[in-house]
């Protein structure tokens, strides 16, 4: 791995609206380095007066895609970086970033499984990179994703997840919608709890676990999984929140 992190200027290739509050930005990188699923990039914005703001965004795309990456960004109310990405960025724009970064919350097919992924909201992004990597590598590692969203419209990657589960019988996706559910909804309709986790892990064996989401969800799910008997050393967590590291 490269020791130093150099900033580079990427070009926006495409912008896709995923949900009302979430966009995926495809970036072409002049100095592309293959990432591991779960890693992120630091994005830095510089204003005309020199003021800089910096945030970390998880890579959504699989490592097998060369030369470019997808970052999926949720717009945070008053977020100075995410609102710029949401409102201003169009194809052809330049973005300063550095990465890939991180070595703890990462997974690759060679690490094996089974795999239990638990996501809250845009916490699904690094887990989607793992799922896409698993699909690209044509892996049959038993994998389950439990994904909590506020509403049906807020489910990121909804169609692609459905397609991937149709293509791989070893991949199962469980949705829970915490605020509103469409009529005829057959998935879960509450916050993640122990009975739900028990049902999701039923028959999976002893999985490696990756949990990503807002801090309260991550804390609760990690505690619940230990209480239902999973090994704490197999549980990796990544919390996200409204903050970022300013440059």
């Amino acid at each position: 791995m490269k020791r130093t992190l150099d900033w580079q200027i990427a070009t926006v290739k495409a912008v896709k609206q995923e949900t009302p509050h979430v966009k995926t930005i495809t970036l072409t990188l002049p100095d592309w380095v293959q990432h591991k699923a779960g890693q992120h990039y630091d994005v830095r914005l510089t204003a005309a007066d020199g003021y800089q703001a910096q945030r970390s965004y998880s890579i959504a795309s699989q490592p097998e895609r060369t030369g470019e990456i997808d970052l999926t960004v949720e717009r945070i109310e008053d977020g100075e970086v995410s609102s710029y990405i949401d409102e201003v960025l169009i194809p052809g724009d330049l973005v300063e970033l550095r990465g890939p970064i991180g070595g703890y919350f990462v997974w690759e097919v060679a690490l094996g499984g089974p795999l239990l992924l638990v996501a809250g909201g845009s916490g699904v992004v690094p887990l989607m990179s793992m799922i896409r990597h698993r699909a690209s590598a044509k892996s049959a590692i038993p994998t389950r994703l439990l994904y909590s969203s506020r509403s049906f419209e807020d489910i990121i990657y909804r169609d692609e997840l459905e397609q991937l589960t149709n293509e791989s019988s070893a991949l199962k996706v469980f949705h829970t919608l915490t605020r509103s559910q469409p009529s005829g909804w057959t998935g879960y309709a509450r916050r993640i709890d122990q009975p739900m986790l028990r049902e999701v892990v039923e028959g999976l064996g002893l999985p490696q676990v990756f949990i990503c989401g807002p801090t309260p969800l991550v804390e609760a799910v990690a505690n619940d999984l230990v209480q239902i008997g999973l090994n704490p050393t197999h549980i990796r967590t990544e919390r996200f929140g409204p903050s970022g590291t300013s440059a």
Binding site: M1, R3, T4, L5, H40, D42, Q54, S56, R98, G99, I101, G102, G103, Y104, F105, T215, P216, E219, R236, T237, E238, R239, F240, G241, P242, S243, G244, T245
Partner: protein, 96 residues
């Protein structure tokens, strides 16, 4: 610490993954998978699993088990101050 203060700080709490870029800048290596041990309670874990509070002039990393401060980092324009008295060790893997 009162309950109110606890809930406020928990809202802002992240983990070591969130500052991976800054740590790599300082240590010139990937740091989130680096094992470390809490000097207070002996809990062992990776830097990425530590609780992180970064909405302040400095960065605080706390033990996920006992919540004690393990590492503090303050950056000034010409220096980085690193206080790791809350960590027994950091195991920095030799680069191959």
């Amino acid at each position: 610490m009162s309950d109110v203060e606890t809930s406020v700080t928990d809202e802002l709490m992240l983990d070591g993954n969130a500052v991976a870029g800054m740590l790599q800048e300082i240590f010139a290596m990937e740091m989130t998978a680096t094992p470390t041990e809490c000097a207070n309670c002996g809990h062992e874990g990776a830097i990425g699993s530590l609780l992180c509070f970064n909405q302040a002039p400095g960065l605080i990393l706390r033990c996920p088990a006992c919540k004690q401060v393990m590492i503090r980092i303050v950056q000034t324009p010409d220096a980085v101050y690193l206080d790791a008295r809350g960590a027994v060790y950091l195991r920095l893997a030799r680069q191959q």
